[in-house]
């Protein structure tokens, strides 16, 4: 007897990645609003702290969804590809970040790291890592 036809699409993963990028954008938007509010004297210190914290809530929700997706919904090969993508991002990001911090401490010129660089770089590195791992099994 033939099993029912079954096709796994990359849809849920792409949607989740898109949601993650949107959550990062929300966090960055919150950061921007906090800076604007500080310069304009809006909200007060407690309000700005609240806004800064609320802007990160989508990322926390995304982390929960991501964890469930990784543990329950992916088959073993795709799970491995995603984990390799995360490992790639960690391995590349950490030494670069450490180098930039040390160079800045030593007084050398380093590119200015703003919140967008700090938040979007890991997301980009994860995407690159997943693509590299995916190409290896194709």
């Amino acid at each position: 007897m033939k099993p029912e036809t079954y096709e796994v699409s990359a849809g849920p993963g792409s949607q989740l990645y898109g949601l993650y990028v949107a959550a990062i954008a929300t966090a960055l938007g919150g950061n921007l609003l906090v800076r604007i509010a500080e310069r304009a004297g809006w909200l007060g210190p407690a309000g700005r702290v609240g806004l800064a914290a609320v802007a990160v809530v989508p990322l926390i929700a995304g982390a929960v969804v991501f964890w469930r997706w990784l543990r329950r919904d992916l088959d073993e090969m795709v799970q491995r590809i995603v984990l390799e993508g995360l490992a790639f991002a960690f391995i590349i990001y950490l030494p670069i970040a450490a180098l930039l911090v040390n160079l800045r401490t030593a007084g050398a010129w380093v590119p200015r790291l703003d919140p967008a660089d700090m938040l979007l770089s890991p997301a980009l590195l994860v995407a690159i890592g997943i693509v590299l791992a995916w190409r290896r099994v194709q």
Binding site: T5, Y6, D75, M77, V78, V137, Q138
Partner: protein, 63 residues
């Protein structure tokens, strides 16, 4: 590692998607297994062997 997955699947007239459904993995995983690009975990290797009624050694062999 080499395997006879493609041969065994063809002998049953199954598509990669149908085999994937039977094994509860993605079609991409079946494709990677058949092309020798991905080695399965032991639980998946047992599921494959059980599905085809063979031993793991009948299906998979080291290079």
């Amino acid at each position: 590692m080499t395997n006879r997955l493609s041969e065994l699947r063809s002998s049953r007239g199954w598509s990669q998607g149908e085999l994937a459904a039977a094994l509860e993995v993605s079609r991409q995983t079946v494709n990677a297994l058949e092309r020798g690009k991905y080695d399965p975990s032991l639980p998946l290797a047992f599921r494959i062997a059980r599905l085809f009624g063979r031993s793991i050694e009948d299906i998979f062999s080291p290079d």
